[in-house]
Symmetry: C2
Subunit: 217 residues, 2 copies
DNA sequence: CTCCGGGTCAACCATTTGGTTGATCCGGCG
DNA sequence: CGCCGGATCAACCAAATGGTTGACCCGGAG
């Protein structure tokens, strides 16, 4: 069997070195290239494709400091012709992350604290066109399907974002040109959907579920 | 010059592999041992000491899923006889993290997205008994000195952290074994120092100033 | 010793937020 | 057409939060 050629995408040199070292220990797997963010990954993919040296699997981190983030990058990659499968390898396991990645077309989702052997299995599965989910992730998804989270409306998300900046109900009302009463109504709905009963908890919960960005991010 | 012997402490196999690979590329540096958490690190240190094979520098992550966390581990290590310098290598750069680590006796603070050469320099500095701060961290500290942030007391930071998880005043009081009145007093002080006038704004401001971590991080 | 700052608490009051009920408007769907 | 859900608003009450004043204890600096 041919070598499985991999593109590593991670903004941490340390992690890239670790994956390179770990993967090169395995028979049949080799690291073809590396990239520090989504843009660079796309460039690398195209470059290698035109060289007639395409990669078989992309190993992608989700959080990348500066450039294009992992979910966006995954979606972009899946738009390419002859797009390689994208295997997500990240530290975060919020359901929002996972769902976003899967929606973007990821073919697997692993956590960085996984033992080497699990990562190897996932790479092999991805290369074979199969899906690979870390056990933790699989459990999370099952749970998600069992109790589906109520979806927030765009308006509610908008208010949630203003909420997170520290505005009062009145200030939010002014800024969105609605009455304070309406703001309160929305908030009550939001609390219900998030399973909390005050604004700070809503912010905390929404941030953890990655419905909104962390304040100041 | 003798080899600098290092103990790696990180709960992610991937990261350990990366550091091992990266460090072994450098002349004069070798990885003597690895540990997945603080407890294991202490055991390793003692074991190697009794073997007459002590390590020169500990490279320590701050966040470790299960076992003893990095700050605690650092403090414990510094209590040992002939304690080696501890160099923190982590993803997080909030004030609270940095201060806690320095207080615990860390001799350096690097970020995981640092280029290999910077990490190497930091290891050499630590081995020589010097302090090594990542440029980003140094800049952060300088900035803190330039615009004298009204210093929050440790107690205030602690309450701020609880605040950010969405707890009510009463819940915070219960959790910290103080009265609700005292919680309010602290909050008023916090609002004053941060220049805000409500709890959500305090969270937003404190997160942006990196006094605390974003909720859920 | 005295002073000061951090941490603790109480009492009080104004304002904000939380929670409920009910109502209107509008756009899409069967 | 009638129904439903999202968005809007009002009125009302209960509870939490914000803001102030004053007080006590303690440990460290002068």
């Amino acid at each position: 069997m041919n070598q499985i050629r991999i593109l590593l995408v991670d903004d941490h040199p340390v992690v890239r070195a670790g994956l390179r070292a770990m993967l090169s220990d395995f028979e049949g797997i080799s690291v073809a290239a590396e990239a520090a963010d989504g843009d660079a990954a796309l460039r690398e993919l195209k470059r290698l494709q035109t060289l007639g040296d395409p990669v078989d699997v992309v190993l992608m981190d989700l959080q990348m400091g500066a450039g294009m983030d992992g979910v966006t990058a995954t979606a972009q990659i899946r738009l390419l012709e002859a797009a390689p499968p994208v295997l997500i390898l990240t530290t975060y396991d919020t359901d929002a992350d996972i769902l976003a990645a899967v929606e973007a077309g990821a073919s697997g989702y692993m956590l960085k604290d996984a033992p080497p052997e699990q990562i190897r299995q996932a790479v092999l599965a991805a290369a074979a066109g199969q899906t690979a989910l870390a056990p933790k992730i699989a459990a999370l998804l099952m749970n998600r399907i069992a109790n589906p989270a109520p979806a927030l409306t765009p308006r509610e998300i908008q208010l949630l974002e203003l909420l997170a900046t520290g505005l009062s109900n009145r200030a939010i009302a002014k800024k969105t040109f609605i009455s304070e009463a309406t703001v309160k109504t929305h908030l009550v709905h939001i609390y219900g959907k998030l399973g909390v009963d005050n604004r700070t908890a809503a912010i905390s919960e929404a941030t953890q579920r990655r419905i909104i960005r962390a304040p100041g991010q």
